[in-house]
Assembly symmetry: C2
Homo-oligomer: 382 residues x 2
């Protein structure tokens, strides 16, 4: 097979929009950021941190965008970023960020080497829950002549990584503190599942337990002469609780900047929908088939959103989402109101993996595209 | 912020492997193709088509890979490709493919224009289920001075796009046949849900119904003097049924080349697991935390696989998958057999959207990396 002459092909570039365009002209499926709501979310998180005198280290795994991270630092007053993978951190170091916590264990030798190389260019922190991993990190740091800062990860209820016992935490902290090339910088104590508990009382109970556990370990560490610069944790669902704890000093929220359908279901103290943050992320989709009575088919399927936290919701219009296949979203439209090429904003079920499917954010204000931001670390999972 | 000097940064490229490397040294998470199983799957589909005298038009939306599509045409004897999006088809036309069906409705004016431009370089077919869309396609074809071939899509039970009635199908076929710039080339009659019905009897009942519907419409069309070059449909779950129908003449299977955990649950006529195709796609993952008793955490989360068809399975080893978060897979390991950095092959729940998350396929034979193939149309959802 011989490829055609591409000078003649005039293939469209896969940019879903151009600045100045009306939102209704954006090619779909495309991620839309409502800039007013997004900026408001940054302000709200900054205010929360100011109120309680804690720092915010914004989680970049959610948006994977250099432009958004920059706004989180500059306008949102974030002290730095969290990443979840070395390849993700590389993108942000390359863009000039100087303070990055990999809020995860890095155990593979190739990745440890890459982590140590990053520490030549930025303050790099990483989590540990294994003594052999501490030794491997220390060797790599000495080999690259850098210091890697280390947080000991506690399992405070997430049932994932991290040590459960005070003895385990102390052994790791001592190992880090006594390893040339490493610096013991504190604790990572993130309670993932609690973020999504619908009831405020359940979230408070889970985080109270986490706070108690962290406080006890801080006391134990102080007894060993080890202090913690960073006690980090908290996502969007519980940030106000850790902020008010007097124990945590760095919040690591990510989703707060966008919100999603899953986070929108959590309730405040009075059992009402929590209004701490606003919906700023949407998946714009077009109707592509109205052939069936009572049903409309849109062009946003599993290649542009993920379903593990449930189906998306339709924004500001009363259509029920019936299902989602590889390339199609199926809506109930009992009165056949929707017409071919009508556009709908969807609220994705879960923002993090949905953003990771896209190459661009289309940033909109008052119905007009203001700018486009690349999803800079899209696909960086190594 | 000023970006660091990247000549000094020596950032690793995000290639998960190099040819000649052992599989156990591949960086994770990474998609692995078992080349022996993959080639065997191509042969099996070729044999199925030869047995029944039908053509295979391989569905490229599944793998999105130019290299795989080429092997499907050259070794698997596929007559052409299916794509699901215009941007996807552009990638394959650019690579030299000459016969592409977009097995979907294209209704947006910008996309219709791009579709017509593609028809300058390749045989392009598209589906319709709307009369106004027929008119729009015809205008674009005349504007670009090309012929776009059109299949009328029937809803044969999928409950998605397509017309349900013979009258609807005939009106569309006549509109296409009488539109300069368009050619009426046949029917699209894909029964998506039936692919995944576990019981053979249920699959047969669904496809028998589809066959009956298609046969009646073919008769009606013949009465109008309209013949169908293509009667297309069939996925991996039902391909043998449409192949044997005497009515369908083009199969559109995609997943047969890789298989996934969802397709592995379907049964043959005797209620045993269908062994028509072999597992050829795996997600290689590494153990990154063993801090908890009875549990191991792997590095493959929702950024490297999707869950809408269920959790992945562990290949050839007896570990139960307990859950999957953004960046972590949680395994039960009651005897604490797994060690840090152990590698496991996972069988993804659903291959299509999982492949779309990755940039590379790592192709392995006898435990050694033979080559890497890019996921050429990754993210092409426009």
């Amino acid at each position: 097979m011989i490829a055609p002459d591409f000078a003649q092909l005039e293939l469209g570039l896969d940019v879903p929009a151009l600045p100045g365009m009306a939102e209704e002209d954006v090619l779909t499926p495309a991620l839309i950021i409502d800039l007013d709501a997004f900026e408001d979310n940054l302000s709200r998180m900054r205010a929360l941190c100011q109120t309680y005198g804690v720092r915010h280290r914004a989680h970049a795994k959610m948006h994977k965008s250099v432009d958004i991270a920059r706004l989180q630092v500059e306008r949102g007053n974030a002290v730095g970023l969290c990443c979840q993978k070395v390849s993700e951190a590389e993108v942000f170091v390359r863009a000039g960020f100087k303070d990055i916590l990999i809020s995860n264990e890095i155990t593979d030798p190739v990745r440890i080497d890459r982590l140590a190389r990053l520490a030549r260019h930025a303050r790099i922190l990483v989590c540990v829950d294994d003594l052999a991993n501490v030794a491997a990190l220390a060797r790599a740091a000495r080999c690259q002549d850098v210091t890697i800062e280390v947080l000991v990860e506690l399992d405070v209820g997430a049932g994932r990584c991290g040590v459960k016992t005070a003895n385990g935490a102390m052994a790791l902290a001592q190992a880090v503190a006594s390893s040339p090339g490493l610096r013991f910088s504190g604790l990572q104590a993130y309670h993932g599942p609690a973020q999504h508990f619908r009831s405020f009382a359940d979230r408070r109970a889970a985080i109270d337990q986490a706070i108690g556990k962290v406080r006890a370990i801080l006391d134990d560490l102080a007894g060993l002469g080890l202090s913690c610069d960073i006690v980090g944790g908290a996502g969007t669902g519980t940030a106000a609780l850790e902020a008010a704890s007097g124990v945590y000093n760095e919040l690591q929220s990510g989703s707060y900047a966008f919100l999603d359908a899953s986070y929108a279901t959590i309730e405040d103290e009075n059992g009402r929908p929590s209004a701490m943050f606003r919906h700023a992320l949407f998946l714009l989709s077009s109707v592509m088939s109205t052939a069936a009575e009572g049903r409309a088919i849109c062009d946003a399927g599993l290649k542009s959103q993920t379903l593990e936290s449930g189906l998306p919701k339709v924004w500001m219009r009363d259509f029920q989402v019936l299902g989602c296949n590889d390339e199609h979203l199926i809506l109930a439209d009992p009165q056949n109101q929707l017409k071919l090429n009508d556009k709908l904003r969807l609220i994705p079920g879960h923002c993090d993996p949905t953003c990771n499917l896209h190459d661009w954010y289309v940033c909109v204000r008052n119905g007009v595209v203001e700018t486009l931001w690349p999803v800079s670390a899209r696909g960086k999972s190594l």
